[in-house]
């Protein structure tokens, strides 16, 4: 056992932090506060990350990656997240690319990996449908053989960055007669293909992250089918394992906690700084311990992956812990702000630029996305601990 990073890892972190200090505008408010305003910065930094090889840090060398350890990748994600630096590419570099390395054809890898590596293409994800959320495998989008390709009809929803994306990877049913997991295929499509419509969905924070994507007789060439036909579910779950790594949730919670700690030091309560009051300290202490505990669990996930294991149970735990923690931390934050908890970012006197309130809105959805926490607990109980399935 060793609970510290290697010298090489610490050296990488130092290099990264050095870069981060220079990369952000002086008055930078932080990604997520206004994604549309941040979009250009995001693209600019992404290309810079690509040039430094950090976008593809964990990719094998044969695909132009740096073959960095999972732990180095975690350090990268932690520091980028903690400092709220835009530029990472979750859908392309982190989710689709490793999936293509496992399931894609040689031609697909040649065609799709390099633009991702250069930070030049934005991917989005077409998984959920209006009637298929937790029960993803019940999806109804149809892909029917049509010449040397497929004709696709259906609707996808909750597609982050759908309005920014150049390409989409998505699931469609290719055999409606087969059992539900066995008639699904995994496709790639150019978003400019005729028949694709993007409808924005504004979230409760008033922000436009999500979209509904409609496919009307969209033609997808057979060359853009990933893996075998009707075996898309395996491709899909490979990708989900890349999605559920958990550290980003925990990092966000740690950052908010640090911001709140600073606020508590600087803010007078009855009889001294808020930070000196026992009730405030008790909450901070409990949350700090949960945060550190969750963080180490996320490190363990990376370590297990580095050992070649597939840490399903640990990843699910990490997701539950991180998303729950962020909700607790931001909710504690609102309580700490008292009357000022109401002030949103448009109010000059809003504490911490209204960021706690914004974060509170945002993270309400985290226990839902990427598999609800209820589904994660089912996974922990059944796949993780061997209890009998409940349905």
């Amino acid at each position: 056992m060793r609970f510290e990073f290697s010298d090489a890892e610490e050296k990488f972190r130092a290099e990264l932090l050095e870069w981060i200090r220079g990369a952000l505008p002086a008055d930078y408010a932080g990604a997520g506060e206004d994604p549309d305003a941040d979009w250009d910065l995001n693209l600019k930094l992404r290309r810079e990350l690509a040039r430094r090889g950090w976008l593809t840090l964990a990719w094998p060398r044969e695909y132009g990656g740096r073959a960095a350890s999972h732990m180095t990748q975690v350090i990268f994600n932690e520091e980028m997240g903690f400092h709220r630096v835009p530029g990472r590419d979750a859908f392309g570099a982190r989710m689709l690319a490793p999936t293509l390395m496992v399931h894609g054809s040689e031609a697909q890898r040649k065609q799709f990996l390099p633009p991702v590596a250069r930070g030049e293409v934005q991917w989005c994800q077409g998984y959920s449908e209006p009637d298929s959320g937790s029960d993803l495998a019940s999806l109804q989008t149809r892909a029917v053989g049509d010449g040397d390709g497929f004709k696709v009809n259906g609707t996808k929803i909750w597609t982050s960055l759908g309005h920014r994306a150049d390409w989409i990877f998505f699931l469609a049913r290719t055999d409606p007669e087969a059992p539900k997991h066995k008639g699904i295929s995994f496709f790639l499509s150019d978003m400019k293909t005729p028949g694709i419509t993007v409808r924005p969905i504004v979230n409760m924070a008033g922000e436009h992250h999500f979209n509904q994507i409609t496919f009307e007789d969209v033609w997808v060439p057979r060359a853009q089918l990933v893996g075998e036909i009707n075996k898309g579910w395996y491709v899909a779950t490979t990708l989900l394992d890349f999605e559920r790594s958990g550290i980003d949730y925990i990092t966000a919670a740690r950052r908010v906690l640090r911001d709140l700690a600073e606020h508590a030091r600087m803010t007078k309560g009855p009889g001294g700084p808020l930070a000196d009051q026992a009730d405030v300290r008790a909450r901070f202490a409990s949350l700090a311990a949960q945060a550190e505990a969750s963080r180490i669990l996320a490190y363990e996930v990376a370590w297990l992956q580095g050992q070649g294991a597939v840490p399903t149970r640990e990843a699910s735990m990490s997701k539950v812990l991180g998303t729950r923690l962020m909700n607790e931390v931001t909710d504690f934050g609102l309580e700490l702000l008292g009357a000022a908890a109401r002030l949103d970012r448009g109010t000059d006197s809003a504490p911490l630029r209204g960021r706690i309130l914004r974060a509170r809105f945002d993270c309400i959805a985290w226990p839902i996305f990427a598999g609800t926490n209820e589904i994660q607990k089912n996974i922990i109980a059944t796949r993780g601990l061997g209890l009998p399935r409940s349905y």
């Binding site: 959320g133 008033g206 309400i364």
Partner: protein, 365 residues
């Protein structure tokens, strides 16, 4: 102990529910978030016609002369539709301020127009800043800034505390919009449909008739905070109760894995927990209203109600989001209106810390 409503109270509740659920749809509530007063004039007119704006005003002032329980019934139904507008500020706290702090002439002058909905009152109870009052001729000169001023841009009458510059006593003034030297700032950007902001008093000269309650007004202010907190608790429970209803309905309808999600034990238990939270906060909220009506010290009853509502309301919304999945997180879904209201309510009229000492009186602590 009697947990029942009288026939008259049931009529009020049914009428309020019917009117509000028809009128204040999600679309209406969204539309009002950018509206200057937060209430469409025709809706405000209807509310006045229903007698709500003067619900607790005496008959001689054109009011219905009803009590806190009846007011709570209407407020609960407003909470159930996340009703925006100046009702709470004007018809609850504003009328209470004049009833508790005004003399006969002041009441006769101010209450009737508020009771008939022609004027909007704003009572400043949460300011982090102070105004000082100095005698000037037969009247007063007021100087300073106030924040967390409700209905900041649309109130016709501001009821505000000021510190007498010599004695240090707290005074209470009722000052009409348009008074020279009184300047309302712009409406703040907030979590919900509050219309809070700042008010600057730059040596504003007001007549002696603007001074409510000649004596130290701290008692009146304290009472008004309790009225606000107690009825805010009721409003929050109204919201939480409606969120429970919405969730039960959704869980019975939405299917995954070939069956309604409400048949999954995990979802059932989340919903049961919501019901427990609502029920265990609701009676305390009504007890606070009852205690406010009855008179005597209401600090403990109100503190218990607000603390429990603070804990329950956000928790209920959190669980509702978890049951609704992504759809509940969209702007077009009504759930988020309630979540925002719950967050706003928790921070209004005293957070849980502010009521802690009053709550602990139950335990002699």
């Amino acid at each position: 102990m009697d947990f029942g409503l009288t026939e008259e109270q049931k009529l009020i509740r049914d009428g309020a529910r019917q009117f509000l659920r028809t009128t204040a749809t999600g679309a209406y509530v969204r539309e009002m978030s950018a509206h200057p007063t937060g209430c469409r004039p025709d809706v405000w007119r209807q509310i006045a016609d229903l007698g709500w704006t003067g619900l607790i005003a005496e008959e001689r002032h054109g009011g219905a002369a009803l009590g806190m329980i009846e007011l709570a019934i209407v407020i609960e139904e407003m909470g159930a539709v996340a009703f925006p507008g100046p009702f709470f500020s004007s018809a609850v706290v504003g009328l209470s301020a004049l009833k508790l702090g005004g003399n006969r002439e002041q009441q006769d002058a101010h209450i009737p127009p508020i009771a008939e909905g022609a004027r909007i009152a704003s009572v400043v109870l949460e300011s982090t800043e102070m105004v000082s009052a100095s005698r000037a001729g037969s009247g007063w000169s007021l100087k300073g800034r106030l924040d967390y001023v409700p209905e900041v841009t649309s109130a016709d009458l501001y009821v505000l505390p000021a510190v007498e510059s010599r004695s240090g006593k707290t005074l209470l003034f009722a000052i009409p919009r348009g008074t020279d030297g009184l300047a309302a700032g712009k409406r703040w950007d907030t979590v919900s449909h509050d219309r809070l902001g700042e008010l600057a008093l730059d040596g504003a000269m007001v007549g002696a008739d603007c001074l409510l309650n000649g004596d130290d007004a701290s008692t009146v202010l304290g009472r008004l905070r309790l009225v606000g907190a107690g009825l805010k608790a009721v409003e929050m429970i109204g919201g939480a109760g409606r969120v429970l209803e919405m969730t039960v309905e959704y869980a019975g309808k939405r299917e995954q894995f070939g069956r309604p999600i409400g048949s999954f034990q995990a979802v059932q238990h989340m919903i049961a927990e919501m019901a427990i939270q609502v029920s265990s906060a609701r009676h305390l909220a009504y007890r606070a209203a009852w205690q406010l009506e009855r008179g005597g010290d209401a600090g403990n009853a109100v503190g218990l109600a607000k603390l429990r509502a603070n804990e329950a309301a956000v928790r209920v919304c959190e669980l509702a989001h978890q049951c609704h999945g992504a759809i509940g997180f969209t702007q077009e879904h009504d759930l988020q209106l309630y979540t925002r209201s719950a967050m706003a309510g928790r921070a209004s009229f005293g957070d849980s810390r502010a009521h802690r000492d009053a709550v602990l009186a139950t335990l002699g602590l």
